[in-house]
Protein backbone atom coordinates (compact mmCIF):
# COMPACT_ATOMS: atom_id res chain seq x y z
CA UNK A 1 0.00 0.00 0.00
CA UNK A 2 2.99 2.31 0.62
CA UNK A 3 3.60 2.39 -3.17
CA UNK A 4 0.27 4.17 -3.62
CA UNK A 5 1.49 7.36 -1.95
CA UNK A 6 0.93 10.33 -4.24
CA UNK A 7 3.76 12.63 -5.30
CA UNK A 8 3.88 15.49 -2.77
CA UNK A 9 6.82 17.82 -3.52
CA UNK A 10 5.31 20.76 -1.64
CA UNK A 11 4.30 18.75 1.41
CA UNK A 12 7.77 17.17 1.47
CA UNK A 13 9.18 20.60 2.31
CA UNK A 14 7.27 20.43 5.58
CA UNK A 15 9.11 17.28 6.59
CA UNK A 16 12.47 19.03 6.65
CA UNK A 17 14.02 20.15 9.92
CA UNK A 18 14.29 18.58 13.34
CA UNK A 19 10.80 19.41 14.49
CA UNK A 20 7.76 17.11 14.36
CA UNK A 21 5.92 17.16 11.07
CA UNK A 22 2.25 16.47 10.45
CA UNK A 23 3.23 15.37 6.92
CA UNK A 24 5.47 12.63 8.35
CA UNK A 25 2.59 11.45 10.52
CA UNK A 26 0.06 11.43 7.68
CA UNK A 27 2.52 9.56 5.45
CA UNK A 28 3.10 7.01 8.18
CA UNK A 29 -0.67 6.54 8.56
CA UNK A 30 -1.03 6.35 4.76
CA UNK A 31 0.96 3.10 4.75
CA UNK A 32 -2.10 1.47 6.29
CA UNK A 33 -4.94 3.86 5.52
CA UNK A 34 -6.15 4.55 1.95
CA UNK A 35 -8.02 7.54 3.40
CA UNK A 36 -4.69 9.14 4.37
CA UNK A 37 -3.31 8.54 0.85
CA UNK A 38 -6.12 10.58 -0.66
CA UNK A 39 -5.74 13.13 2.11
CA UNK A 40 -2.11 13.67 1.06
CA UNK A 41 -3.21 14.01 -2.57
CA UNK A 42 -5.89 16.56 -1.83
CA UNK A 43 -3.64 18.52 0.52
CA UNK A 44 -0.85 18.67 -2.05
CA UNK A 45 -3.33 19.97 -4.61
CA UNK A 46 -4.54 22.59 -2.11
CA UNK A 47 -0.98 23.76 -1.49
CA UNK A 48 -0.28 23.86 -5.22
CA UNK A 49 -3.43 25.76 -6.12
CA UNK A 50 -3.77 27.72 -2.86
CA UNK A 51 -7.39 26.62 -2.49
CA UNK A 52 -8.94 24.62 0.33
CA UNK A 53 -11.02 21.76 -1.05
CA UNK A 54 -13.21 20.97 1.94
CA UNK A 55 -16.96 21.46 2.21
CA UNK A 56 -18.67 21.91 5.56
CA UNK A 57 -21.33 19.37 6.48
CA UNK A 58 -23.97 20.54 8.93
CA UNK A 59 -26.18 17.54 9.53
CA UNK A 60 -24.05 14.51 10.31
CA UNK A 61 -24.03 13.27 13.88
CA UNK A 62 -25.13 10.40 16.05
CA UNK A 63 -28.72 9.74 17.04
CA UNK A 64 -29.97 12.06 19.77
CA UNK A 65 -26.85 14.21 19.87
CA UNK A 66 -26.50 17.63 18.30
CA UNK A 67 -22.80 18.10 18.86
CA UNK A 68 -19.48 16.35 18.73
CA UNK A 69 -19.34 15.58 15.01
CA UNK A 70 -18.05 18.15 12.54
CA UNK A 71 -19.05 17.25 9.01
CA UNK A 72 -16.44 17.51 6.25
CA UNK A 73 -16.76 16.53 2.60
CA UNK A 74 -14.18 16.74 -0.14
CA UNK A 75 -14.96 19.16 -2.94
CA UNK A 76 -13.07 16.78 -5.26
CA UNK A 77 -14.78 13.46 -4.47
CA UNK A 78 -14.17 11.95 -7.92
CA UNK A 79 -10.45 12.57 -7.73
CA UNK A 80 -10.06 11.69 -4.05
CA UNK A 81 -12.91 9.26 -3.31
CA UNK A 82 -11.41 7.97 -0.05
CA UNK A 83 -11.82 11.42 1.56
CA UNK A 84 -15.20 12.05 -0.03
CA UNK A 85 -16.42 12.00 3.60
CA UNK A 86 -13.86 13.10 6.16
CA UNK A 87 -15.82 13.93 9.32
CA UNK A 88 -14.19 14.90 12.59
CA UNK A 89 -15.33 13.52 15.94
CA UNK A 90 -14.70 15.35 19.20
CA UNK A 91 -14.40 12.99 22.14
CA UNK A 92 -14.84 14.15 25.72
CA UNK A 93 -11.40 13.99 27.32
CA UNK A 94 -10.95 12.97 30.96
CA UNK A 95 -10.39 15.91 33.33
CA UNK A 96 -6.71 16.85 33.32
CA UNK A 97 -6.09 14.67 30.23
CA UNK A 98 -5.15 11.55 32.16
CA UNK A 99 -5.25 8.21 30.36
CA UNK A 100 -3.94 4.76 30.90
CA UNK A 101 -1.84 3.50 28.00
CA UNK A 102 -4.54 0.86 27.49
CA UNK A 103 -7.23 3.51 27.08
CA UNK A 104 -5.13 5.28 24.45
CA UNK A 105 -4.50 2.01 22.60
CA UNK A 106 -8.22 1.20 22.69
CA UNK A 107 -9.12 4.62 21.25
CA UNK A 108 -6.50 4.26 18.53
CA UNK A 109 -7.62 0.72 17.68
CA UNK A 110 -11.19 1.95 17.27
CA UNK A 111 -10.08 4.83 15.12
CA UNK A 112 -7.85 2.74 12.88
CA UNK A 113 -10.80 0.42 12.35
CA UNK A 114 -13.51 3.07 11.93
CA UNK A 115 -11.65 6.12 10.61
CA UNK A 116 -8.42 7.41 9.14
CA UNK A 117 -6.30 6.63 12.20
CA UNK A 118 -5.31 10.31 12.48
CA UNK A 119 -5.90 12.17 15.71
CA UNK A 120 -5.23 15.55 17.32
CA UNK A 121 -4.22 15.02 20.93
CA UNK A 122 -5.74 17.37 21.86
CA UNK A 123 -7.80 19.99 20.04
CA UNK A 124 -7.88 23.55 21.31
CA UNK A 125 -11.22 22.82 22.98
CA UNK A 126 -9.46 20.15 25.02
CA UNK A 127 -11.24 17.21 23.40
CA UNK A 128 -9.60 14.21 21.79
CA UNK A 129 -10.01 14.93 18.09
CA UNK A 130 -10.50 11.97 15.78
CA UNK A 131 -9.93 13.15 12.23
CA UNK A 132 -11.62 11.66 9.21
CA UNK A 133 -14.38 9.11 8.95
CA UNK A 134 -17.41 8.41 6.82
CA UNK A 135 -21.05 9.02 7.69
CA UNK A 136 -21.82 5.30 7.97
CA UNK A 137 -19.02 4.83 10.53
CA UNK A 138 -20.24 7.51 12.96
CA UNK A 139 -22.76 5.38 14.87
CA UNK A 140 -20.48 2.29 15.06
CA UNK A 141 -17.61 4.49 16.30
CA UNK A 142 -19.86 6.03 18.94
CA UNK A 143 -20.97 2.56 20.01
CA UNK A 144 -17.38 1.29 20.23
CA UNK A 145 -16.27 4.34 22.21
CA UNK A 146 -19.23 3.93 24.60
CA UNK A 147 -18.07 0.39 25.34
CA UNK A 148 -14.75 1.74 26.63
CA UNK A 149 -16.50 4.51 28.59
CA UNK A 150 -15.78 7.43 26.29
CA UNK A 151 -18.46 9.85 25.13
CA UNK A 152 -18.69 12.44 22.41
CA UNK A 153 -17.89 16.04 23.36
CA UNK A 154 -19.51 19.33 22.44
CA UNK A 155 -19.70 21.33 19.23
CA UNK A 156 -22.09 23.83 17.71
CA UNK A 157 -24.27 26.05 19.89
CA UNK A 158 -23.93 23.96 22.99
CA UNK A 159 -21.84 23.66 26.11
CA UNK A 160 -18.37 22.75 24.89
CA UNK A 161 -16.56 19.99 26.71
CA UNK A 162 -15.39 21.53 30.00
CA UNK A 163 -11.62 21.42 30.41
CA UNK A 164 -9.11 22.13 33.14
CA UNK A 165 -5.47 22.10 34.12
CA UNK A 166 -4.10 19.10 36.03
CA UNK A 167 -4.80 21.01 39.27
CA UNK A 168 -4.20 19.29 42.58
CA UNK A 169 -3.20 16.05 40.90
CA UNK A 170 0.21 17.41 39.94
CA UNK A 171 0.51 21.11 40.70
CA UNK A 172 1.60 22.65 43.98
CA UNK A 173 -0.15 25.96 43.22
CA UNK A 174 -3.67 24.61 42.69
CA UNK A 175 -6.04 26.61 44.87
CA UNK A 176 -9.01 24.31 44.28
CA UNK A 177 -9.67 20.88 42.80
CA UNK A 178 -10.07 21.75 39.11
CA UNK A 179 -10.50 18.14 38.04
CA UNK A 180 -13.34 17.49 40.50
CA UNK A 181 -15.19 20.62 39.38
CA UNK A 182 -14.68 19.79 35.70
CA UNK A 183 -15.97 16.27 36.18
CA UNK A 184 -18.95 17.51 38.18
CA UNK A 185 -19.94 20.19 35.66
CA UNK A 186 -19.52 17.73 32.78
CA UNK A 187 -21.84 15.23 34.41
CA UNK A 188 -24.33 17.83 35.64
CA UNK A 189 -24.72 19.51 32.25
CA UNK A 190 -24.94 16.45 29.97
CA UNK A 191 -28.08 17.76 28.26
CA UNK A 192 -26.48 21.12 27.54
CA UNK A 193 -23.35 19.37 26.25
CA UNK A 194 -25.14 17.11 23.80
CA UNK A 195 -28.26 19.07 22.87
CA UNK A 196 -27.45 22.51 21.46
CA UNK A 197 -29.92 25.00 22.89
CA UNK A 198 -27.83 28.16 23.22
CA UNK A 199 -27.51 31.18 20.92
CA UNK A 200 -23.88 30.09 20.41
CA UNK A 201 -21.12 28.08 22.08
CA UNK A 202 -20.37 28.30 25.80
CA UNK A 203 -17.08 27.22 27.37
CA UNK A 204 -16.07 26.54 30.96
CA UNK A 205 -12.34 26.37 31.63
CA UNK A 206 -10.93 25.69 35.05
CA UNK A 207 -7.47 26.88 36.09
CA UNK A 208 -6.13 26.00 39.52
CA UNK A 209 -4.14 29.20 40.06
CA UNK A 210 -3.62 32.63 38.47
CA UNK A 211 -0.91 31.22 36.18
CA UNK A 212 -3.98 30.09 34.23
CA UNK A 213 -2.29 27.26 32.33
CA UNK A 214 -5.44 26.55 30.29
CA UNK A 215 -5.65 30.24 29.29
CA UNK A 216 -9.23 30.37 30.49
CA UNK A 217 -9.16 34.16 30.85
CA UNK A 218 -8.74 34.49 27.08
CA UNK A 219 -10.84 31.57 25.85
CA UNK A 220 -13.63 30.62 28.21
CA UNK A 221 -17.06 32.16 28.46
CA UNK A 222 -16.78 31.31 32.14
CA UNK A 223 -13.25 31.26 33.52
CA UNK A 224 -12.84 29.74 36.99
CA UNK A 225 -9.35 30.67 38.15
CA UNK A 226 -7.92 29.58 41.49
CA UNK A 227 -6.81 32.31 43.91
CA UNK A 228 -6.47 33.07 47.62
CA UNK A 229 -7.72 35.89 49.82
CA UNK A 230 -5.28 35.88 52.73
CA UNK A 231 -1.54 36.57 52.68
CA UNK A 232 1.13 34.96 50.49
CA UNK A 233 3.02 32.41 52.60
CA UNK A 234 6.65 33.49 52.94
CA UNK A 235 9.60 31.41 54.14
CA UNK A 236 12.18 34.15 54.84
CA UNK A 237 15.06 31.64 55.21
CA UNK A 238 14.31 30.28 51.75
CA UNK A 239 14.13 33.85 50.36
CA UNK A 240 17.61 34.54 51.78
CA UNK A 241 18.84 31.26 50.30
CA UNK A 242 17.68 32.42 46.83
CA UNK A 243 19.58 35.69 47.39
CA UNK A 244 22.72 33.83 48.57
CA UNK A 245 22.63 31.69 45.45
CA UNK A 246 22.66 34.77 43.22
CA UNK A 247 19.03 35.71 42.58
CA UNK A 248 18.73 39.49 42.35
CA UNK A 249 15.52 39.80 44.32
CA UNK A 250 15.14 43.54 43.83
CA UNK A 251 15.57 43.35 40.10
CA UNK A 252 13.94 40.01 39.30
CA UNK A 253 11.14 39.96 41.85
CA UNK A 254 10.38 43.30 43.52
CA UNK A 255 10.76 45.49 40.44
CA UNK A 256 8.65 43.12 38.36
CA UNK A 257 5.71 43.20 40.79
CA UNK A 258 2.88 44.88 38.83
CA UNK A 259 1.33 46.47 41.93
CA UNK A 260 4.68 47.30 43.62
CA UNK A 261 3.46 45.67 46.79
CA UNK A 262 6.78 44.26 47.98
CA UNK A 263 10.10 45.38 49.29
CA UNK A 264 13.44 43.61 49.91
CA UNK A 265 15.87 45.07 52.46
CA UNK A 266 18.56 42.46 51.90
CA UNK A 267 17.38 40.38 54.84
CA UNK A 268 13.59 40.11 54.65
CA UNK A 269 10.96 40.27 51.93
CA UNK A 270 8.04 42.48 53.01
CA UNK A 271 4.73 42.13 51.15
CA UNK A 272 1.80 44.51 51.49
CA UNK A 273 -0.81 41.87 50.67
CA UNK A 274 -3.62 44.43 50.47
CA UNK A 275 -2.06 45.62 47.19
CA UNK A 276 -1.22 42.16 45.82
CA UNK A 277 -3.09 41.41 42.59
CA UNK A 278 -2.29 37.65 42.66
CA UNK A 279 -0.21 37.75 39.48
CA UNK A 280 1.95 34.84 40.71
CA UNK A 281 5.18 36.41 39.41
CA UNK A 282 7.04 36.37 42.74
CA UNK A 283 5.80 32.87 43.53
CA UNK A 284 6.93 31.59 40.13
CA UNK A 285 10.39 33.08 40.57
CA UNK A 286 10.89 31.79 44.12
CA UNK A 287 8.74 28.66 44.37
CA UNK A 288 10.65 27.32 47.39
CA UNK A 289 10.18 30.53 49.36
CA UNK A 290 6.68 31.74 48.48
CA UNK A 291 3.35 29.98 48.29
CA UNK A 292 -0.24 31.06 47.72
CA UNK A 293 -2.16 31.84 50.92
CA UNK A 294 -4.05 29.23 52.89
CA UNK A 295 -7.59 30.62 52.41
CA UNK A 296 -8.06 29.40 48.85
CA UNK A 297 -10.89 29.45 46.32
CA UNK A 298 -11.38 30.96 42.88
CA UNK A 299 -12.20 34.11 40.99
CA UNK A 300 -14.98 33.58 38.48
CA UNK A 301 -14.81 35.66 35.34
CA UNK A 302 -17.12 35.88 32.39
CA UNK A 303 -17.16 36.70 28.73
CA UNK A 304 -13.86 35.96 27.01
CA UNK A 305 -13.73 34.71 23.45
CA UNK A 306 -11.53 34.56 20.39
CA UNK A 307 -12.41 36.84 17.48
CA UNK A 308 -15.15 35.36 15.28
CA UNK A 309 -18.11 37.71 15.06
CA UNK A 310 -16.70 40.51 17.22
CA UNK A 311 -13.06 41.00 18.26
CA UNK A 312 -11.31 39.09 21.02
CA UNK A 313 -12.51 39.66 24.58
CA UNK A 314 -10.82 38.89 27.89
CA UNK A 315 -13.01 37.78 30.77
CA UNK A 316 -14.07 40.28 33.40
CA UNK A 317 -14.77 39.50 37.04
CA UNK A 318 -18.12 38.14 38.15
CA UNK A 319 -17.17 36.81 41.61
CA UNK A 320 -13.89 38.20 43.01
CA UNK A 321 -13.60 35.28 45.42
CA UNK A 322 -15.69 32.19 45.92
CA UNK A 323 -15.02 28.95 47.78
CA UNK A 324 -15.05 26.02 45.36
CA UNK A 325 -16.59 23.14 47.22
CA UNK A 326 -19.05 20.38 46.26
CA UNK A 327 -21.87 20.46 45.37
CA UNK A 328 -20.88 23.79 43.72
CA UNK A 329 -24.43 25.10 44.13
CA UNK A 330 -23.60 28.80 43.84
CA UNK A 331 -21.77 28.26 40.55
CA UNK A 332 -24.58 26.14 39.11
CA UNK A 333 -27.32 28.55 40.25
CA UNK A 334 -25.46 31.45 38.64
CA UNK A 335 -24.82 29.51 35.44
CA UNK A 336 -28.49 28.53 35.18
CA UNK A 337 -29.60 32.15 35.58
CA UNK A 338 -27.04 33.36 33.05
CA UNK A 339 -28.05 30.78 30.47
CA UNK A 340 -31.71 31.60 31.04
CA UNK A 341 -31.33 35.30 30.24
CA UNK A 342 -28.80 34.70 27.42
CA UNK A 343 -30.98 32.05 25.74
CA UNK A 344 -34.04 34.27 26.08
CA UNK A 345 -32.48 37.48 24.76
CA UNK A 346 -29.29 36.48 22.92
CA UNK A 347 -29.01 36.73 19.14
CA UNK A 348 -27.92 33.84 16.96
CA UNK A 349 -24.10 33.43 17.15
CA UNK A 350 -23.81 35.93 19.99
CA UNK A 351 -21.39 34.78 22.70
CA UNK A 352 -22.33 35.65 26.25
CA UNK A 353 -19.52 38.25 26.41
CA UNK A 354 -20.91 39.98 23.35
CA UNK A 355 -24.40 39.77 24.82
CA UNK A 356 -23.21 41.40 28.04
CA UNK A 357 -21.50 44.15 26.07
CA UNK A 358 -24.71 44.75 24.10
CA UNK A 359 -27.11 44.88 27.05
CA UNK A 360 -24.61 46.31 29.54
CA UNK A 361 -23.09 44.53 32.51
CA UNK A 362 -25.35 46.44 34.89
CA UNK A 363 -28.50 45.09 33.24
CA UNK A 364 -27.00 41.62 33.00
CA UNK A 365 -26.08 41.60 36.70
CA UNK A 366 -29.58 42.73 37.59
CA UNK A 367 -31.07 39.92 35.49
CA UNK A 368 -28.94 37.27 37.18
CA UNK A 369 -29.49 38.85 40.60
CA UNK A 370 -25.89 39.65 41.48
CA UNK A 371 -24.94 42.92 43.15
CA UNK A 372 -22.19 44.91 41.44
CA UNK A 373 -18.88 45.20 43.26
CA UNK A 374 -15.84 47.37 42.48
CA UNK A 375 -13.84 44.39 41.20
CA UNK A 376 -16.16 44.16 38.19
CA UNK A 377 -14.19 46.45 35.93
CA UNK A 378 -13.41 46.24 32.25
CA UNK A 379 -9.93 47.63 32.87
CA UNK A 380 -8.30 48.21 36.26
CA UNK A 381 -9.06 51.57 37.81
CA UNK A 382 -11.30 52.79 35.02
CA UNK A 383 -14.82 52.35 33.75
CA UNK A 384 -16.35 50.74 36.85
CA UNK A 385 -19.63 48.95 36.38
CA UNK A 386 -20.82 50.27 39.72
CA UNK A 387 -24.01 52.19 40.03
CA UNK A 388 -24.61 54.91 42.56
CA UNK A 389 -28.39 55.02 42.37
CA UNK A 390 -28.68 54.23 46.06
CA UNK A 391 -26.94 57.53 46.88
CA UNK A 392 -29.65 59.53 45.19
CA UNK A 393 -33.15 59.95 46.53
CA UNK A 394 -36.05 59.87 44.12
CA UNK A 395 -36.79 63.45 42.98
CA UNK A 396 -33.18 64.68 43.27
CA UNK A 397 -33.11 65.44 39.58
CA UNK A 398 -36.31 67.51 39.82
CA UNK A 399 -34.89 69.56 42.68
CA UNK A 400 -31.71 70.25 40.73
CA UNK A 401 -33.77 71.43 37.77
CA UNK A 402 -35.85 73.74 40.01
CA UNK A 403 -32.73 75.22 41.60
CA UNK A 404 -31.18 75.99 38.24
Amino acid sequence: MADNLPETPLLNELEKGAWPSFVKEIKMAAKRSPMCQDLLGQLEQSYREKIGYWKHGGIVGVMGYGGGVIGRYSALPDKYPKVSHFHTMRINQPAGWYYTSKALRDICDIWEKRGSGLTNMHGSTGDIILLGTTTDQLEPTFEDLSKIDFDIGGSGSDLRTPSCCCGMSRCEWACYDTMALTYDLTMHYQDELHRPAFPYKFKFKMSGCPNDCVASIARADMSIIGTWRDDIQVDQDAVREYADKGLDITSDVVNNCPSKCMDWDGKELHIDNSFCVRCMHCINVMPKALRPGKDRGATILIGSKAPIIEGAFLSSVLFPFIKIEPPYSKIKDTVDKMWDVWCEEGKNRERIGEFIQRVGLGNFLEAIEIDPVPEMVAHPRENPYVFYEEYFEEGDDDEEEEES
Binding site: K55, H56, G57, G58, I59, G61, M63, G64, Y65, G66, G67, G71, Y73, S74, P77, S84, H85, T135, S155, G156, S157, D158, D191, R195, P196, A197, F198, P199, Y200, D340, C343, E344, N348, R349
Partner: protein, 81 residues
Amino acid sequence: MAKSVEEIAEAMFNLVKEAGSQKKLKPMDLTKSMIQMFGDEVDKKICKEAIKQLINSGRCVYTYFGGSFIELPHREGAAND
Protein backbone atom coordinates in the same frame (compact mmCIF):
# COMPACT_ATOMS: atom_id res chain seq x y z
CA MET B 1 -54.71 22.36 31.81
CA ALA B 2 -51.02 21.72 31.25
CA LYS B 3 -50.07 20.39 27.84
CA SER B 4 -48.38 17.00 27.60
CA VAL B 5 -44.88 16.50 26.23
CA GLU B 6 -46.40 14.68 23.23
CA GLU B 7 -48.77 17.54 22.42
CA ILE B 8 -45.97 20.08 22.57
CA ALA B 9 -43.66 17.88 20.50
CA GLU B 10 -46.37 17.62 17.86
CA ALA B 11 -46.89 21.39 17.79
CA MET B 12 -43.13 21.91 17.54
CA PHE B 13 -42.87 19.38 14.74
CA ASN B 14 -45.56 21.24 12.80
CA LEU B 15 -43.69 24.50 13.25
CA VAL B 16 -40.44 22.96 12.00
CA LYS B 17 -42.30 21.42 9.07
CA GLU B 18 -43.98 24.70 8.16
CA ALA B 19 -40.68 26.56 8.40
CA GLY B 20 -39.16 24.07 5.95
CA SER B 21 -36.15 25.47 4.23
CA GLN B 22 -37.46 29.04 4.51
CA LYS B 23 -36.46 29.66 8.09
CA LYS B 24 -34.14 27.80 10.43
CA LEU B 25 -35.46 27.48 13.96
CA LYS B 26 -33.37 27.23 17.12
CA PRO B 27 -34.60 25.35 20.19
CA MET B 28 -35.36 28.66 21.92
CA ASP B 29 -37.44 29.80 18.93
CA LEU B 30 -39.57 26.68 19.36
CA THR B 31 -39.85 27.21 23.11
CA LYS B 32 -40.86 30.84 22.71
CA SER B 33 -43.46 29.88 20.08
CA MET B 34 -44.93 27.25 22.40
CA ILE B 35 -45.20 29.74 25.25
CA GLN B 36 -46.86 32.20 22.88
CA MET B 37 -49.21 29.50 21.58
CA PHE B 38 -50.16 27.79 24.85
CA GLY B 39 -49.46 30.43 27.52
CA ASP B 40 -49.39 29.11 31.06
CA GLU B 41 -50.06 25.57 29.87
CA VAL B 42 -46.37 25.11 29.05
CA ASP B 43 -43.03 26.07 30.54
CA LYS B 44 -39.40 25.92 29.41
CA LYS B 45 -38.77 22.62 31.18
CA ILE B 46 -41.53 20.75 29.39
CA CYS B 47 -40.49 22.33 26.08
CA LYS B 48 -36.97 20.98 26.64
CA GLU B 49 -38.47 17.51 27.14
CA ALA B 50 -40.53 17.87 23.98
CA ILE B 51 -37.43 18.79 21.95
CA LYS B 52 -35.62 15.80 23.41
CA GLN B 53 -38.49 13.57 22.34
CA LEU B 54 -38.52 15.02 18.82
CA ILE B 55 -34.80 14.41 18.41
CA ASN B 56 -34.71 10.98 20.06
CA SER B 57 -37.57 9.79 17.87
CA GLY B 58 -35.69 10.86 14.75
CA ARG B 59 -38.55 13.08 13.54
CA CYS B 60 -36.23 16.08 13.76
CA VAL B 61 -32.47 16.47 13.76
CA TYR B 62 -29.98 19.02 14.98
CA THR B 63 -28.16 20.80 12.18
CA TYR B 64 -25.27 23.26 12.20
CA PHE B 65 -24.95 26.13 9.77
CA GLY B 66 -23.10 28.84 11.65
CA GLY B 67 -25.29 28.01 14.65
CA SER B 68 -27.28 24.97 15.75
CA PHE B 69 -30.84 24.55 14.53
CA ILE B 70 -33.63 21.98 14.58
CA GLU B 71 -34.81 20.77 11.19
CA LEU B 72 -36.53 17.86 9.50
CA PRO B 73 -34.07 15.15 8.44
CA HIS B 74 -32.89 15.79 4.91
CA ARG B 75 -29.91 15.27 2.64
CA GLU B 76 -27.68 18.30 2.86
CA GLY B 77 -26.38 20.06 -0.21
CA ALA B 78 -22.71 19.57 0.67
CA ALA B 79 -23.02 15.80 1.12
CA ASN B 80 -21.20 13.49 -1.30
CA ASP B 81 -22.61 10.07 -2.13
